[in-house]
């Protein structure tokens, strides 16, 4: 006696590589102001990104992970979330952070080696960047559990890379989200690479979204360079979460257009051709074309936006560069709420060093 259990995941895309609709668009496309705001955020993100890389190249910032290629999905997340929701990021979510109210200079401070870059007054409940891959997924289900414990009508969005979907934290967390019907949306940002490891080496599964099946939650693939597909999936998943209907896994397929970080050289492991091909699918250009084609955007507006973004970024860079370092005692002052006696002597030693000239900047 044989019984068949059937499962599926859908994948969605609305625009072709040039921004022409492949069919009917979702209702989100009619919200012109929102679409324009999305576009602006994508351009600002990209402008910021180029500047951060330049700062690193000139020794004014530490190792930095470019967001190039993630602007669309990051923006869609930021737009779909309510202010009262909690964002649980990984380290390549600049586009979302901006919409959450994190200041550009904070992001520079963070990558510039200053813990104060994670003090985010505008979104005080958002989790800081998680460097250890996929660990944030467990935190996300913890935050969502807290919401469940308090019977709140809020939700969590958690990002993870394609590489991160191989790690236990992600897999255990989506399973808990399913078992506990948690109000959480996981966005697996499949940019095809985990440093030098291609997507195909991470898993034999055809899609990342299908990992949802083992967790008993819906999985969905979207073209992560297609704003409409991505924001629709996010809106739907967050509606589910807010409505107490549980968790969703969204796989946003895109491409990491830059090096892994400024410490990486991607030409060692991937071809120029592949990269060129990926640029043809760039989601910002695609949305720009769509806006143009539908009369929502003009070249002069583009020029003004570029200018405005440059100014915004430059101001942030100034603010960043003129921020003095913390005193060395800071390394002990935030470890516990109150300094334990055991650390007092060490703190005194550090305090004596506060006036020293720094070895590095």
């Amino acid at each position: 006696m044989r019984k068949r259990h059937e499962f599926h995941v859908d994948s969605t895309r609305y625009l072709d590589d040039n921004g022409s609709p492949l069919g009917e668009l979702p209702s989100q496309a009619a919200e012109t102001e929102r679409v324009l705001a999305a576009y602006r955020n994508m351009v600002l993100t990209r402008t910021f990104d180029a500047k951060a890389i330049a700062l690193q190249r000139t020794g004014k910032c530490g190792t930095y992970p470019s967001v190039l290629g993630h602007e669309v999905v990051g923006t869609a997340i930021g737009q779909a979330m309510m202010a009262t929701d909690v964002f649980v990021p990984y380290y390549r979510d600049q586009a979302t952070h901006i919409l959450r109210g994190v200041r550009l200079e904070d992001m520079l401070l963070y990558w510039g080696g200053d813990e104060r870059g994670s003090v985010w007054p505008a979104c005080p409940e958002d989790l800081p960047i998680a460097v250890p891959i996929a660990t944030q997924c467990c935190h996300a289900v913890g935050v969502a559990s807290a919401m469940r414990v308090r019977a709140e009508n809020r939700a969590v969005v958690c990002c993870v890379g394609d590489g991160g979907t191989s790690k236990g934290d992600f897999l255990e967390s989506i399973n808990l989200a399913g078992a506990w019907h948690l109000p959480v949306v996981f966005v697996a940002i499949n940019n095809q690479w985990a440093i030098s490891t291609p997507r195909g080496l991470q898993s034999g599964a055809e899609t990342i979204a299908q990992k949802a099946i083992g967790a008993g939650i819906p999985g969905h693939v979207v073209d992560g360079n297609d704003y409409f597909a991505t924001v629709e999936a996010l809106d739907t998943a967050l509606e589910r979460a807010h409505g107490g209907k549980g968790a969703t896994l969204i796989e946003a397929v895109t491409y990491r257009l830059g090096d892994h970080t400024t410490a990486d050289d991607a030409t060692r492991y991937r071809s120029a051709e592949e990269l060129k091909h990926a640029w043809e699918k760039d989601g910002i250009k695609r949305l720009q074309n769509w806006l143009h084609d539908h009369g929502h955007w003009r070249p002069d507006q583009e020029k003004a936006l570029q200018e405005e973004c440059r100014e915004t970024v430059d101001a942030a860079v100034q603010a960043y560069l003129s921020t003095e370092s913390e005193p060395p005692t800071a390394m002990l002052d935030y470890l516990f709420e109150t300094l334990p006696d055991a650390l007092k002597e060490q703190r005194e030693r550090l305090a004596q060093r506060s006036t020293e000239v720094r070895h590095d900047g």
Partner: protein
Amino acid sequence: MTDNTLRKVTLVEAINMALHWEMAHDDSVVVLGEDIATNGGVFRATVGLKETFGFRRVMDTPLAENLIAGTAVGMATQGLKPVAEFQFLGFIYAGMEHIVSHASRMRNRTRGRLHCPLVYRAPFGGGIHAPEHHSESTEALFAHVPGLRVVIPSSPQRAYGLLLAAIRNPDPVVFLEPKRLYRAVTQSVADDGQALPLDTCFTLLEGEDVTLITWGPCVQETLQAAEQLAEQGVGCEVIDVATVAPLDRETLLCSVAKTGRAVIVHEACRNGGVGAEIAASLAERAFLDLQAPVVRVSGYDTVMPYYRNEAFYLPRVEDIVSAVEQVISL
């Protein structure tokens, strides 16, 4: 404190009492772990909580220690005070990344914006004839992690007061419960919500000749050794460190300034144990006070043997006595 709050309880019952008290008085306290709700925990430490506070606040988790450790971090950033149980200390290692890289760092990382008022509970130590991995004493692994408190009760009263303090503490606490003492002794404990301090050692016995420094299960053998030695006319000061990190060195130094001699007793293997830090600190700061080397009585530098030979691993009363005789003779 009224008389009717006094109860004669075992250590594990004191844990249970403290959990009941704090959950009743603070809505933000939640409990999670494997088999802790319906079953009340494999050692019955959480029994009754689900019945009183409901599944919402008393959560049986899927079997995944990494997830338990990390979920507690997420909950804590939301202002809940999760008390997460690891069924045995030997199964906590999968959760190590969240303990080392997140729980202990969230406050520092965000410069105080978010913090982790959580407790990781785990039964620890040997002596109950358990299978492999059920007898670990690896408190030193946690004591070395900046940003963690590592707290180890050794009596019902201290279990009650220290657990309350651990839950109320705004920072992460690894709370290790000596499972061979779970039901070994009873004590009268006032169920009055009084916490004990997490920043001082407890001097259990005063003495002039030698300082015996210990914690957890070995407090029992150490007190017995002190009793035997008292009969021989040797006055032992017995100190239960209790909070092994951050370490209250002052109490230890004061005692050694008086006695001039110290023996450290712990069940963990010797190499790199918490005893090493204590011995190093005493040897450095009490250099001129010490009339004999600081000696450590401990487990062997190996894995806890399966139970047929377990007794050969564990420090005995006679080992402590002879260590004291050795340092006294110098």
